[in-house]
Each structure stands twice: as C-alpha cells, then as structure tokens.
Symmetry: C2
Subunit: 328 residues, 2 copies
C-alpha cells in the first residue's frame, strides 16, 4: 500500500503538501503537478480509514430500510444514492428486515464507522434513535415519522387512503374493503383512517369493521386477508390495498379466482412497477418514492453541512391514477 510518505518522497515535498493537494488547500502549481505525477506513478489512493480516524468523519451515509425487496424502498434508495453520490458521498444500504435489533445493530455500526448521517425508515414505533442522536449525527426520517424531533419526509397517507377509496366509490363500487399493513405502523394506520373517512363521507356503507384487515406489508399476508374477505357471507365488491405488495397479493388471489379487475374494484396506495395487468385496470395512488429519497438526502446533506435550523417535516402527496374502467 502506497502512502502519502511514498508520494511525498517521490515528488520531493513533505507529506503535508501531498495531503494538501488532495484536499484542495493552497499549494503552488508546480508542486501540485509534481505530486499528481508521483501519485499517478505510484497508483496512490488516499486511505479513507486513516483520514476518517483523523477527521472523525467519513463521506458515507447510512440508509436503513425495513425491506430491501420492496420496490418502493429500492426506488427511494435510488433517489438517495443519486443525490449523495453527486455530492461525493457513498451510501451504505442497510436492510433492517423490520427487526428492531437488526436496526439497532446498523445504527451502532453507523456510529462506530463515523458515518456522517443516517436516513431511516424505522422498523417500528419502538425504534430508538437516542444513541445515534447523542453523537450529534444528523438523522432524517423517511416514509415513517418518529417520536424524535428530527427532519422527516413523509407521505400524506390519510389523503392517499381517501383518494384511493373515492376512486372506487366514483366508479360505482358499494362494498369497499381495506387491507393494510400492521396497525402499529403509522403509515398503515393513516391510510386506513383515510379509507374510513371516505366511506363515512359517502354514507353508502355501514359495516366498516367487518371489511377491514391488517396484514403485514408483504404479499403473503395480503393473500390471506383477501381470501378471508372473499369468504365473508357478504364479500366486498372492491378493495383498497394499503401498499404495493398488499396490492400484488390481493390481485393475485382475485386473479386466481377469475375475478380480474374491474370485475372487482381495486385501488392501491402505491405503484405496481412490475405488474402485468392492463395499466388501466386498477387505481393507483402513486407515491413519489424516488423524490422522497432525493428530498431526504438533500436535507441530510444540509445538516451535515452544519445547518442548524429547527427540524422540518416535508409532506409529499401521492398522485392518483384512476382506473379507466368502472364497475361491471
């Protein structure tokens, strides 16, 4: 491994000058040239570990998400990454798998590795940010709000739930069920609240309780919930899916039974990027995942840069894409 001392010797300067060349402080043009040449000759790369130990910082940010296999989060990750790498930061993607312990481990690593900041979609309400915050590192919450006073970027979940439901009501459906994520995740609870509010406003449907299901945010849970709903004495004629994977699970079950939309109405809070359905068969409230990542990364970078204004929360709205079909 070549060090700045090797480069310094070859270029006939001091190690400090080599360091300066690589950090952009004032060095005479001729020495800059000599150092660059020597560095190139020796195939020198600065040792980030040493740099990081010395400066107590590193150009790395951690992105902690609950499910790396969910396209919603990977799209968000792309947004984060694009902004970060533009600014010279690398992104370490950590998959908490919705487990608080794994999440805590990654947060510890972020501290121990001197990472500059953290963007996190928390695994649950109980997530503790105490130790990371006590180090003074900036944290931005994405997708899910936290009980801490930190920057956040969230979705207007209640509005999204309302929009999805209203789209079905307008299309003529009259018994609209809801399948959402775990009730203790705020995003899931808010979307469910939106569904309830829309139904209440429409005054068309009374037995709301019977048509509400909380599953996991995964395909399997949604499948089971959909089966349950269809087995009801009075099954629904439409369903609102609380996120993209729930939408997939619900539609899978429906399709297997020959009930392809719009035979039964489907509205999804989220996008179906890999759907093979006709694009107009279901209503999607598309969530700006990438934009969310971009916004969060920008906020984090500002904080890393020393910005100390009070914590802000940015609320992003979904974009309704109505199914063109109506109830048949």
């Amino acid at each position: 491994m070549t060090t700045i001392y090797d480069v310094a010797e070859r270029a006939g300067v001091s190690p400090a000058t080599v360091s300066r060349v690589f950090n952009g402080t004032s060095v005479s043009a001729e020495k800059v040239a000599a150092v660059r040449k020597a560095a190139a000759d020796l195939n020198f790369t600065p040792n980030r570990t040493a740099r990081s130990l010395r400066t107590q910082s590193s150009e790395v940010i951690a992105l902690v998400i609950p499910d790396i296999e969910n396209p919603y989060f990977t799209e968000m990750a792309r947004g984060v990454e694009d902004v970060a790498s533009e600014a010279g930061y690398s992104v370490v993607l950590c998959n908490s798998d919705s487990q608080t312990e794994k999440e805590a481990t990654y947060l510890q690593i972020a501290i121990a590795e001197h990472m500059s900041g953290v963007i996190i979609a928390t695994a649950s309400e109980t997530t503790s940010l105490d130790s990371i915050l006590s180090t003074g590192r900036p944290v931005v919450a994405v997708d899910r709000a936290t009980r801490y006073d930190v920057d956040g970027v969230v979705i207007a979940n209640r509005a999204a739930g309302i929009a999805a439901t209203e789209s079905l009501i307008e299309a003529g459906y009259r018994r609209i069920a809801y399948i959402g994520g775990p009730e203790d995740i705020d995003t899931a609870a808010d979307r469910a609240a939106g569904w309830r509010a829309a139904l209440a406003a429409a005054e068309t449907q009374t037995d709301i309780g019977a048509l509400q299901r909380f599953a996991t945010f995964r395909v399997d849970g949604a499948r089971a919930a959909m089966e349950e709903l269809l087995a009801l004495p009075e099954p629904p004629d439409a369903v609102v899916a609380g996120n993209n994977l729930i939408g997939v699970g619900a539609i899978q079950v429906l399709t297997e039974r020959g009930l392809t939309p719009p035979q039964i109405g489907v509205a999804v809070v989220g996008s179906l990027p890999f759907t093979t359905l006709s694009p107009t068969a279901v209503t999607m409230v598309r969530l700006p995942a990438r934009h969310m990542g971009v916004t969060a990364a920008r906020m984090l970078l500002e904080r890393i840069g020393g910005d100390a204004q009070p914590a802000r929360t940015v609320v992003l709205r979904g974009d309704v894409q109505h199914a063109s079909a109506v109830r048949v």
Copy 2:
C-alpha cells in the same frame, strides 16, 4: 466519544487489557468483569475506524450489483446479507447502475475502506478487477462470469434458455420469439443460445433470425421489442423472455392488446415475484437468486478466512415451473 483509555482508567487496568477483553484473548476473569462493567457504565463502543486502520482490515464486504431495482438482485442481496451478518460481517450494497465508471468508483472505495472482500455482478465485459485483485482481496463473481481467475457462482443459462423454449414447444407453440438482454452480457447470450438450440432440435421453425431481439435488461426495452415482434408480417405465437423484467415488459404489451397468456405463449427465464397474473399462465424458469447470494457469501468468507485453493465456479440450475395451460 469514550475510548479504551477511559474504560481502562475506570476499570483500573491498562488499555491493552481492555483491547484484549474485546478481542477474546486471555485475560483473568476478574479483570474481564471489571472491564465489561466499566465499558457498560461508559457506554463504550470500540471505534471501528481505528481498529481497521491498525489491523488493515474491516468486517465489511461490498456487494456490487448492476440494478438495485431488479428483484432478482435484491433477492440475491438478501442471501448475501443473511450469511454475512451471521458471520459478523456487514454488507455494503453498491449499485453500479450498469455503468463501468460507477462500478470502478465503488471498487476503489472497497479498497480505500479496507473492506474484506467483494461480491460482484459485473456491469459489463470490460469491468476491470485488476486493482482490487492486486490488493490481494478476495473477489467472487455472481450471476455473470468474468475474464479473471476468481471464484464464481453462475446460472446454467443455456440450459435455462432451452428449458423455457421446450416448455413452449411442448405446449404446442410453433413460432417462438426471443427477447433477451444485451448481447455482450454473457448471461443474455447464453440464454439466447439455449433458445436457438431448442428450436434447432425441434426442427419446427426456420426463420430464427427474424424472431430474435436484444433489448436492455429492463422493462422498457422489452416493451419496445415486443411491439416490434407483434408488428411483424408473421408475428410469433409465443415468446421467451430473457429475464424477469423483460418478461414483465413483454407481458404488459401483450395484456394491453388483449393477448393474455396462454393466447400467446410466454416463458420467462427468471421469476415474476410481483406478478398479478394467474400463477399458471406463464412458464417460469425460476432462478435461485437467494441461493446464489448465499453460496457466493460463503465462498467469500472462506477466502477471507485464508482458503487458498484454486478458483472454483459453482453452476446453479433454474427450476422449471411449466405453465399449466397449452396453446389455445
């Protein structure tokens, strides 16, 4: 930030002893207890950067993939992560976005950060592993073979192409097209070769050239290719998709035209995890992505542990799930 010196002072031992406690070398039971207590009191976490600078290593491995938004690669990432975290390693996920320069940057970072090893699905044939290999770090190639003499885990791509095609032939289709990824990616070329071989063996189809398309490994490219094929004077009655996203794109176009499988035969090399199709409508040659990640991670860990046997390549086979329907 608390250091081993703080802990040492509080426990009444030397810093070296504290270090030993955290690294499992012989220390008397009473001192171990004292150190642990002091560490807990002070909420001490060893500084990985310092450790890494001193030992010239770190318990981090890099996983470089060309498309983080492709479920195939995220499933693979899960496999890698599960094995790695079990062994006390963390995984840094790097998205090269199929760009050789981005890939090179991440490889540089892996070196500069003293990461223990790299698992990489290369962006292209031209990927250079020279500098990472010259540092002596182990590299395992996944999904795509390289021109270097390193460990690898790949799919039996030609066999997968043959299996997909044969499934369609057996179902009675007679004009089977192929849409694959870029011809210069070996996986794409091999799958195409499998398709050609299966058709040649069946002797049912002659104008192979007209029915072959190379797109990107993305949804959009596949859509365009599918449109082209349908616009042919003599359009195909079936299509083999070279990967999961190509399958999605092709099926989307077909569905939009009311040509849902099995009206037209579809076989995909890969899985459709978020499909909303009836599960028996298309043939899938399911690829063991997670297993691939697991295998690669195990191999890398062995190398990190000092294993110096000659480079091995593990070939994994896809698992055919035939569409239950036949040509209609």
